[in-house]
């Protein structure tokens, strides 16, 4: 006859096994006509680390009204996010650049159908350490000199003779990042063309930490990270040929922040839009861009962009129902 201890241990093991095997949030499709407040389900978002704070803000605001909908936001980078998206592992892809044709083909091959929505504007910001008082404005040529492929510039005085003799410390986006694609295309001419000896990361917070801790540091990321970390890093005005322009809401919206102004996208799957909670979330996202961008410190859409977005979404709703 097994001892009581054996019974206890096997009971514990059984309990743990059932807890591990069961559980996990399952997607529930509520029947049509159910009240909005009873929406529940899980929405998986992954992709650009630039867009992630925006999606997180949207999720936060949405969940204030719909507590049972779980939204998770990952930051694998735009490229990484599309990989997962086109394998059917995520419901929405965050992107700081439009989907590439190769990625679109992959999605098509795997039967993933999606919609593209422009949800915010961004001024890709170049940042330096707060103690850096010499690089208040930089030209795109100077940036290219620093960041171009094969560049051996390691000191600020090599960038411009008027700059002091301080070592350059480079922090930037990794190769999976849409910010990387966009920055290299805008500054170096070709997407993904870049020097390789810098601290490359898909997590922009690492770039913030690096630049804020290094006197000669320079890095680049989306405007919202600059707004969030105003005391730790300082933005550099960019001279794209028409004088020095700071990255602000106005300059990004009216297009004078060149060449680093860019739109930000989300790509929800058609499958997600067929689910009531998915449709509700995306509807919330595209109709409340002002509140969401304000919360997340992003640049809102222009009136023109908003009109376009709304008509796009209305067309979708009509077609879907």
């Amino acid at each position: 006859m097994p001892t009581p201890r054996v019974f206890l241990l096997s009971a514990l093991a059984l309990a743990l096994a059932t807890a591990a095997c069961g559980g996990g949030s399952t997607q529930q499709t509520a029947p049509g006509g159910q009240a909005m407040a009873n929406l529940s389900g899980a929405i998986r978002i992954d992709g650009s680390s630039t867009v992630a704070p925006l999606s997180e803000a949207a999720a936060e605001l949405f969940q204030q009204q719909h507590r049972n909908v779980q939204v998770t936001v990952g930051t694998s980078g735009t490229g990484g996010g599309f990989e997962k998206f086109c394998r059917g592992e995520t419901d929405i892809a965050d992107a700081s650049r439009p989907i590439k044709s190769s990625e679109a083909d992959l999605c098509k091959a795997n039967g993933v159908v999606y919609e593209e929505f422009t949800v915010a504007n961004d001024g890709l910001s170049v940042v330096v350490n707060p103690a850096n008082d010499w690089a208040r404005c930089m030209t795109t040529a100077q940036l290219k000199k620093i960041w171009d492929q094969g560049s051996t510039v390691n000191n600020w005085k090599d960038v411009d003779p008027s700059f002091p003799d301080v070592k350059l410390d480079l922090y930037g986006a990794g190769t999976d990042s849409g910010t990387f694609d966009y920055f290299t295309e805008a500054i170096n001419g070709t997407s993904k063309r870049s020097r390789t000896d810098y601290n490359a990361t898909e997590d922009d917070n690492v770039t913030v930490r690096g630049v804020s801790g290094s006197r000669g540091g320079i890095g680049y990321f989306g405007l919202s990270y600059l707004e969030e970390n105003k005391g730790k890093v300082k933005g550099v005005a960019i001279d794209g040929g028409n004088g020095c322009v700071e990255a602000t809401v106005q300059t990004v919206q009216n297009g004078t922040y060149k060449p680093l102004g860019r739109p930000l996208f989300i790509y929800p799957t058609k499958k997600l839009l067929a689910r009531p909670e998915g449709l509700a979330f995306v509807e919330y996202y595209v109709t409340n861009t002002s509140a969401i961008t304000k919360q997340a410190l992003f640049v809102d859409l222009t009136a023109e962009q908003k009109a376009k977005l709304n008509s796009q979404f209305e067309k979708l709703k009509v077609a879907g129902s």
């Binding site: 410390d169 390789t196 690096g210 290094s214």
Partner: protein, 316 residues
């Protein structure tokens, strides 16, 4: 009348000693336990195979010479370069910094615990060392980044520039602190195994405690101490979280620990966190670096076995 009993023949009408019918249950248990032991072997073989198959494919596209001798590491960029030396030197530099902390302090702590400490001191110190060993490595990493690096930047008096925000020195030093309990406890065990008679003999001949500790006990426990140090080196080489957080992600071919550098483990973690499509060269690069790490640790383990055997002192 004499009674002769032949011990080799069974007594009449009596059963023979020894198993009369096979015990299947015993054999089943033995097989099951053998299977458990085999699981560890099978896992090791599985890991080696899983590691080396993509590595072999990797070396079909990239020459071994480029991998081992060039000094630019940029496998995920468009103009890809596959020289592993920057990662290898970073691993080496951080390991050496770790050893500079954990060997003297670990051995010192071990000698103190084994030779000098009173019972009360031992009862306080040993748990403290256990606590140090129990701290999660990610906590160590952030400790290095947020406390040690600014401290080093403030008190830097050495040659060259003060450390950058991400540097190999803080990561190495904190790694040393992490490994210290391992070395201290293994070395202390080795020293306790040295028989009292040796110590007593030395004292009887008029040695001071220091002479006994350094000239009798430590040489006597040398093989155990060497094994402890090699274990420490293996842990330092394989450590990921601390270097990922505190040493940075810039592949940098340098021997200056005050600079930012990316170790082999940090590269594997960073590249793994991103998303490399299966089967691409970027994906296989992760395995190639993993295989290099595996080979390095394996060679060190073999070295350790040989050293331990060489210096082993067997006491009756």
């Amino acid at each position: 009348m004499t009674l002769t009993i032949d011990p080799t023949q069974p007594a009449l009408g009596q059963r023979r000693l020894g198993a009369s019918k096979p015990r299947h249950g015993e054999r089943a248990i033995a097989a099951l336990l053998g299977l458990c032991a085999l699981v560890s072997v099978a896992t090791t073989v599985g890991i080696v195979v899983a590691l080396f198959v993509p590595t072999v494919e990797f070396f079909r596209s990239v020459s071994l010479r480029e991998f081992l001798t060039t000094t630019e590491w940029a496998p995920l960029f468009d103009r890809a370069r596959f020289g592993v030396l920057p990662l290898a030197t970073a691993t080496l530099v951080t390991t050496l910094c770790a050893l500079a902390v954990c060997v003297p302090f670990g051995l010192g702590a071990a000698i103190f615990l084994s030779e000098y400490a009173s019972g009360r001191a031992r009862s306080l110190l040993k748990p403290a060392l256990e606590v140090l060993a129990g701290i999660p490595t990610v906590v160590y990493g952030f400790f290095a980044l947020t406390f040690v690096t600014p401290l080093l930047q403030e008190i830097w008096f050495g040659p060259g520039d003060p450390p950058q925000i991400f540097n190999g020195l803080s990561a190495g030093l904190v790694m040393g602190v992490m490994i210290l309990p391992t070395i201290a406890s293994l070395a202390e065990d080795a020293m306790s195994a040295v028989p009292r008679s040796l110590r007593a003999g030395a004292f009887a001949l008029g040695s001071t405690k220091l002479q006994v500790s350094t000239r009798v006990v430590v040489p006597g426990a040398l093989s155990g101490i060497v094994a402890a140090i090699v274990l420490g080196i293996s842990r330092a080489v394989g450590e990921t979280m601390i270097v990922l957080v505190a040493a940075g992600g810039t592949p940098n071919f340098t021997f200056n620990p005050a600079e930012a550098m990316q170790t082999m483990t940090a590269f594997i973690a960073a590249a793994g966190m991103g998303d490399q499509p299966t089967g691409t060269i970027g994906y296989k690069t992760i395995f190639a670096v993993g295989a290099a790490l595996f080979v390095a640790t394996f060679v060190m383990n073999q070295l350790s076995i040989r050293l331990v055997r060489r210096y082993r002192e067997a006491y009756e």
